[in-house]
Amino acid sequence: MEKKKIGISDFGFRTQLGWEKSLEIVKKSGFDTIDFNLESYTLSDSIYGGSDDAFESHFTAIKEKAKELELEIVQTHGRCSTYVPNNEGHNQWVRDISEKDLRATAILGSPTCVIHSINCSAWGKINPEVLHAESKKMYDDLIPFAEKNKVNISLETFGAALMRGLRFCDLFSYPSEILRQYESMDTTYKTICLDSGHTHEVESFWVPPVQDMIRALGDKITVTHLHDNMGVRDDHLMPGMGNINWPEVFSAFEEVGYKGSYNFELRTNFWGSMMEEGLKFMGKYLRRFVDGHGKV
């Protein structure tokens, strides 16, 4: 039986460790892949805001280091803040920065960049048809950059939205709406990222459990953000610390023939000065958890 790949999102520790040490420790901790977060770059910094050569050279260096370590950059994370209503300045920024994110993803040799769709926290509880139209408009604007760089735009399964303190369920948390959104994208450069924590935190809104979400989205899922919670908040806990039914989740992945990395998007910032030990501990635990089909 083929060994399952395990990976980790670097959003909680790369800023602290720097990208080079970050890659080294991830590899040393037993991970096969990494989810490289691009949200730390902005249009005014020296990389995204500098020359093309500097941009190319920066991401090529990261790619080379990962290659040397035999660590696969299996996905990147683009923007969480995407189109909002009535703010063309912000939306232009989303286009400009996402173009850079997709270019960086291509240089890194990664096939996919996760870009959040528009969300109800910004758009409110409006007509679902309008949300679909606005979401399509945004992705239509980004598709040329994806095609130029031959990189997939990945939709991500959503969870709870907050509006004036009121918690409700985002439209793009329901599998039928995610599939409709996916089908509306006129490109082959598209995929879906299953975020287990998002799905689980809105089960009380009749969103199916994570395992059924996987079955509903099937082979369109090629990347993951795996983490746990208690069904109330998006806590990004280690799997097993919440109440997701992980053995069922692993069975569903097998049923749909999932071949991607089991990429974990966990909170790590609290390890502080014990980050290296914390990542090693997590790597060892997650390897056993994945090999144990969701159990240790």
């Binding site: 909170r267 609290f270 502080g272 014990m274 240790v296």
Partner: protein, 281 residues
């Protein structure tokens, strides 16, 4: 999962100085609590000896989590009998205190505060003879949220002022307070004081702890740092009141499964640095 002997060995091996020995796994119909007094004494003496040999202090025990019932006298009689055994076991183990949960809204429902305060007081008062006989403190534990038919509500003894009164009302010197940080923190939306303010209010009456974290919504028993308790403030408060007890962590461990030994190894190192770092690593 591990058995008491291996449990004690692992706690010591991974750098813990003290252990909080849970008694809830014993019941009146098992061979220890339900058997002869000789068997009972021999069982807990063996545990005490093992801890002594390891130089591991049994700093506290945990008695029953279920408190008294407003009308079910059969339940209350059972509670008195089993708590007497818990206090006796605590004494044999050489631990100074046994944590016993108070009367909670989960059995009492929505009552007036005075009914709840009185009910809770009567429950603890009934335990005093056993506590005095065995020279062991009854530890009152700070509560959090309760659910009645799916509806969340805040227990009266979640408010530290009420807990302190409850403690002061008990007419014995064999009493103390156990501060459960997770309980207090997840009830923050109900105007319960912050963990640091609670520790300050308890002052010198606070001798025991159940330290764990959460995000303010559920009693998740997370590793400190994983939730949003302000630990640095709490450690300042502990210093301010001259807290001398053990920093005892009550973290969920069941999910580590076969990984438990690796987890204790890592947690032992993490918690040592966390405590030495005054709530930071």
């Amino acid at each position: 999962m591990l058995g008491w002997e291996k449990s004690l060995e692992l706690c010591k091996k991974y750098g813990f100085d003290t252990v909080d020995f849970n008694l809830e796994c014993y019941n009146l119909d098992d061979e220890i609590y339900g058997g002869s007094e000789d068997a009972f004494v021999s069982h807990f003496s063996a545990i005490k000896e093992k801890a002594r040999e390891l130089e591991l202090e049994i700093a506290q025990t945990h008695g029953r989590c279920i408190g008294s019932h407003p009308t079910d006298e059969k339940h209350n009689a059972w509670l008195r009998r089993v708590s007497e055994k818990d206090l006796y076991a605590t004494s044999i183990l050489g631990a100074p205190s046994c944590v016993i949960h108070g009367a909670s809204c989960n059995l009492w429902g929505r009552r007036t505060p005075s009914e709840l305060i009185d009910g809770c007081h009567r429950m603890y008062r009934d335990f005093i003879p056993a506590a005095e006989k065995y020279k062991v403190n009854i530890a009152l534990e700070t509560f959090g949220l309760t659910q009645i038919r799916g509806e969340k509500l805040c227990d009266i003894i979640t408010y530290p002022e009420e807990m302190k009164k409850q403690h002061d009302m008990l007419d014995t010197k064999y009493k103390t307070l156990c501060f459960d940080t997770g309980h207090t923190h997840h009830a923050g939306d109900y105007w319960v004081k912050s963990v640091a303010e609670t520790a300050k209010l308890f002052g010198k009456d606070l001798t025991l702890t159940h330290l764990h974290d959460n995000t303010g919504t559920r009693d998740d028993h997370l590793i400190p740092g994983m939730g949003n308790i302000n630990w640095c403030e709490l450690f300042d408060a502990f210093d301010e009141i001259g807290y001398k007890g053990s920093y005892n962590f009550e973290i969920s461990l069941y999910y580590w499964g076969s990984f438990i030994e690796d987890a204790l190894d890592f947690l032992g190192r993490y918690l040592r640095r966390f405590v030495d770092g005054h709530g930071k690593v």
